[in-house]
C-alpha cells in the first residue's frame, strides 16, 4: 500500500475496507510527500503552476534517492496534472492547459515541509517538479468583477479530497501587469501568509489545521478573453405522441445539425418542468417518454435545448391524435403528390385511349370512302 501524506493518501486502504469480502491487502512501500506549489499569475489570464514534491518516510528521512519512489511519482504525472487543474476548476475536462515541463527530478530545487515535529519546517533538497500552464478563462475559479478585475479562488484540492492532506507551501506571485487588489483565506482559523505584498503571497503551512482550504484573490488582469469553440448544435422536435391510456407523451427529437451533441428535451405541463437528456449524432433521431400529469385537452410545451440555447419549441394540446408537427405535414404533402401523380397518370392513360380511338377512326375511315 502506498501512503502519500500531505497529499493524496490511502485510497487503496479506503477501497479495500469497503469491499466486504477482501481478506488481505498486499502492502507496498509507505511514504509521505512534501508538497510545495508555486503559482505565477500572468497577463491574459495565464497561471503557471509549478508543483514540487519530495518523498520522505514516517521518520522524516528523505526518499529522494529511492528510484522506485521517485519513478512512481514521475509516472503519476497524469494524476498530478488533474490535481493541479482541480485547484482551479471543478471540471478538468473542460479546462485548457499546457504541460510546460514534464515531471522530472530536479536536484537544484528544494521543498519545505513539516515532518511531524511541531513548528519546524524542514528543508529537503531535490524535488520532482511538474510545470503546468493553466488558462484561467477556461476554469470555474475565475469570476469577472468588471474593469479587468477578477476574483480567483484557488482551492487546496488535496485537503478537499482528503482532510489529512495539505499544501506545505503555497507561493503566489503576480507578474507583468497583474495587480493584487485583495486577498483572503478560509476557514477563518487558517494562518495568515508569511509574506504579503503587491507581488507575492506566501503561506507556510505547518499542518492541515493551519492551512487554508481556499485562497481567495481579487486580481486585476488585463487582456483576459473568454473565448470558446461553440458547437453549433441544431435539433428539432420532429414529432410528439400523447397516450391518454398510459398518461405519457412520446417526443421525437432529431439532430438536424452537423455536430454530435447532448440535447435536453423539456416538457412543461401542470406546474412541472421535466427534462430528459439525450446524445444524438448528426441526422439521428430518438424518442423520449415523459409521464404526463395534466389532463387530456390541456396545452403543454415541448422544447429542445443544446447547452443553454433553445433550438426548437412547440406548444401542443394533449390529444390522442398526434400533435401538428412537421412529419404530419410531410405525410399530407406526400399524399397530395401521390394524388397529382395519379391524376397525371390517369390523364396519360386517357390521352393514350384518345390516340387509340383516333387511330382506330383513321384506319376505319378509308374503307367507307367511295373513290371517285
Amino acid at each position: 500500500m502506498r501512503l502519500v501524506c500531505k497529499v493524496m493518501i490511502i485510497l487503496v486502504l479506503m477501497v479495500s475496507t469497503l469491499a466486504p469480502i477482501t481478506r488481505q491487502v498486499k502492502p507496498q512501500l509507505n511514504y509521505l510527500v512534501g508538497l510545495n506549489m508555486d503559482v505565477e499569475f500572468m497577463d491574459n489570464g495565464l497561471a503557471r503552476v509549478t508543483l514540487k514534491q519530495h518523498p520522505f518516510d514516517a521518520s522524516g528521512r528523505s526518499l529522494i534517492s529511492n528510484k522506485d519512489v521517485v519513478n512512481e511519482i514521475i509516472s503519476d504525472e497524469d494524476s498530478f496534472v488533474s490535481l493541479i487543474l482541480l485547484f482551479f476548476t471543478t471540471d478538468p475536462s473542460k479546462t485548457s492547459y499546457v504541460v510546460a515541463s514534464h515531471s522530472q527530478l530536479d536536484s537544484g530545487e528544494h521543498v519545505l515541509c513539516n515532518t511531524g515535529t511541531p513548528g519546524v519546517m524542514e528543508r529537503f533538497d531535490g524535488a520532482v517538479t511538474l510545470v503546468v500552464t493553466v488558462f484561467l478563462n477556461t476554469t470555474t475559479s475565475l469570476v469577472a468583477l468588471g474593469n479587468d478585475a477578477y476574483q480567483i479562488v484557488v482551492t487546496d484540492y488535496f485537503t478537499l479530497t482528503d482532510p489529512r492532506s495539505w499544501i506545505d507551501v503555497m507561493d503566489l506571485r503576480f507578474t507583468g501587469n497583474v495587480k493584487l487588489l485583495n486577498f483572503s483565506a478560509d476557514p477563518p482559523w487558517a494562518k495568515p501568509p508569511s509574506v504579503a505584498n503587491a507581488t507575492r503571497l506566501l503561506w507556510l503551512n505547518m499542518n492541515e489545521a493551519d492551512a487554508p482550504d481556499n485562497y481567495v484573490l481579487t486580481l486585476q488582469i488585463p487582456g483576459v478573453v473568454f473565448s470558446s469553440i461553440a458547437l453549433k448544435l441544431r435539433a428539432e422536435v420532429s414529432e410528439a405522441r400523447f397516450s391518454n391510456a398510459s398518461s405519457s407523451l412520446l417526443v421525437n427529437i432529431r439532430n438536424t445539425g452537423e455536430d454530435e451533441g447532448v440535447f435536453t428535451v423539456v416538457l412543461s405541463e401542470k406546474g412541472f418542468e421535466q427534462a430528459r437528456k439525450i446524445s444524438l449524432k448528426p441526422g439521428e433521431n430518438a424518442w423520449v417518454k415523459f409521464p404526463v400529469h395534466a389532463p387530456e385537452g390541456e396545452e403543454v410545451e415541448v422544447k429542445v435545448f443544446g447547452g443553454r440555447e433553445q433550438l426548437d419549441g412547440h406548444r401542443m394540446t394533449l390529444t390522442e391524435k398526434p400533435a401538428g408537427t412537421p412529419p404530419q405535414a410531410q405525410y399530407a404533402v406526400l399524399g397530395a403528390i401521390g394524388l397529382i401523380l395519379m391524376l397525371l397518370g390517369a390523364l396519360m392513360i386517357l390521352l393514350h385511349l384518345d390516340d387509340r380511338l383516333k387511330e382506330h377512326h383513321q384506319t376505319q375511315a378509308p374503307q367507307h370512302e367511295i373513290p371517285f
Binding site: 490511502i10 485510497l11 479495500s16 475496507t17 466486504p20 511531524g116 423520449v288 395519379m342 396519360m348 393514350h352
Partner: protein, 347 residues
C-alpha cells in the same frame, strides 16, 4: 410510340396510388390509440411510505493508533462518523478523548479531528460512542416526473469514476432507459441490466469505465459493490437522473449485538468474516429526497426499499476524484485496528 403514354400513365398512377396509400397507412398507425385505452392511468404524483420503521443502535467505534516512528509525534487524527441524512439520524454520545474540532468533508461527511501526542512505539485507543437511528422503509413512487432542466444540467455530469461521456455507456443507457416513462422505471431497468450481467468480484475501486468487461461477446459488470454503484450512477446520470454513491457499513448479521473489525498485520490487513464495508447508489427524487437503491440484497432491484442494516458514513456526488472515507486515519500515526460494535437498543 402510342404505347409510351399508356406506360407513363400506368407508372404515374401506380406511384400516385402507392404514395396516397403510404401516407394514409402512416397516419392511421400513428393515430391508433393504445390498446389499453379503456383504462386510463392515474396522473397524480404519488410518494407514499408503505413501511417506515426506526431501528436504533448504540455504535462504539474504536481505533488502535500506533506511533511507528522513533520520535514522539504530535498529529491530527481524523475520525469519520456516520452522517445525519435522509433516513438516518446520528448523535455523538461520548468520546474518550475530547476532539479538537469537527469538520465536513467535500460531500458532507462528518469528521472529528483530534490532536494527539504519542511517544515512539506507543499505542492508544481512540473511541467514540454514537446513537444511530436507521430508518427501514419501503416507498411507493408513481408518476414521478423527471428533474427540471437546471437540475439535469447541474447534477448529472461525469466524474472520475462515472464515465458519462463513454460511448458504450451512452449507447447502453439509450437502449435500456430512453423509453422509460419515469425515472423510477428507468432506474429499475438499469438495476435489472446490471444484475443480469454482474460478475461479482471483490476488487479495488476501478470506476465504471473499467467495470464493463466484454467476455464471450457479452458485456459483464465486473467488480464489487462499488463497481455496481458506479455503473448504476453512470447510466442514471446519462439519462438525466441525479444519482450518487453512499458509503457505509452493512450489518450482515441480524443480531442484537454485532462486532466487525479490520486489523493490520505484517503482511496486510485481516477483516472479520462479517465485515460489512459497503457502497450503494442513491437517486434524488424531489418529492421524497434521496432514495436508496440496493442491488446486492436478495439479488433483486430495490428502489426505495431500504433495510435497517445499512449505516451511512458518507456520500459521493460533487467530488471529482472520489471521496475519501477512511474511518480513522492520521498523517503520521498508524491505525492498527478498526472495531465497530453495534448494539441494537430499539426497533
Amino acid at each position: 410510340m402510342p404505347g409510351e403514354k399508356l406506360v407513363a400513365g400506368l407508372v404515374l398512377t401506380t406511384i400516385g396510388v402507392a404514395l396516397i396509400l403510404f401516407s394514409f397507412s402512416v397516419k392511421s398507425v400513428e393515430t391508433q390509440p393504445s390498446q389499453d385505452n379503456y383504462q386510463i392511468a392515474s396522473r397524480e404524483v404519488r410518494v407514499e411510505y408503505l413501511e417506515k420503521r426506526n431501528y436504533t443502535y448504540m455504535l462504539t467505534q474504536s481505533f488502535l493508533l500506533r506511533n511507528p516512528s522513533n520520535n514522539t509525534v504530535v498529529d491530527l487524527v481524523y475520525m469519520w462518523l456516520p452522517v445525519n441524512a435522509t433516513s438516518q439520524s446520528v448523535r455523538l454520545v461520548e468520546s474518550n478523548i475530547e476532539p479538537l474540532y469537527r469538520k465536513s468533508g467535500e460531500d458532507g461527511a462528518t469528521i472529528l479531528v483530534y490532536n494527539l501526542s504519542l511517544p515512539s512505539g506507543r499505542t492508544l485507543w481512540l473511541n467514540a460512542t454514537l446513537q444511530v437511528t436507521v430508518e427501514k422503509y419501503r416507498l411507493l413512487m408513481e408518476n414521478i416526473p423527471w428533474l427540471d432542466r437546471s437540475q439535469v444540467e447541474e447534477n448529472t455530469g461525469g466524474k472520475r469514476y462515472w464515465a458519462v461521456e463513454n460511448q458504450t455507456y451512452v449507447s447502453i443507457a439509450r437502449s435500456i432507459g430512453l423509453d422509460a416513462r419515469d425515472p423510477v422505471e428507468a432506474c429499475s431497468s438499469i438495476g435489472k441490466w446490471i444484475l443480469e450481467r454482474l460478475d461479482y468480484q471483490p476488487t479495488l475501486r476501478k470506476g465504471a469505465e473499467h467495470a464493463l468487461v466484454a467476455r464471450g461477446g457479452r458485456l459483464t459488470v465486473s467488480g464489487d459493490c462499488e463497481e455496481v454503484a458506479d455503473v448504476f450512477v453512470t447510466l442514471a446520470r446519462i439519462l438525466g437522473i441525479r444519482s450518487r454513491v453512499a458509503h457505509g457499513l452493512y450489518l450482515l448479521e441480524d443480531k442484537d449485538f454485532v462486532t466487525m473489525w479490520i486489523k493490520r498485520t505484517e503482511t496486510g490487513y485481516n477483516v472479520s468474516d462479517n465485515w460489512g464495508g459497503h457502497a450503494w447508489p442513491q437517486i434524488y427524487v424531489p418529492q421524497a429526497g434521496w432514495v436508496d437503491v440496493e442491488l446486492l440484497e436478495g439479488e433483486t432491484v430495490k428502489i426505495g426499499d431500504f433495510s435497517q442494516y445499512h449505516v451511512k458514513y458518507g456520500f459521493e456526488e460533487k467530488s471529482f476524484m472520489g471521496s475519501t472515507m477512511l474511518y480513522c486515519q492520521a498523517m503520521y500515526l498508524e491505525t492498527d485496528s478498526f472495531y465497530f460494535a453495534f448494539r441494537r437498543v430499539q426497533s
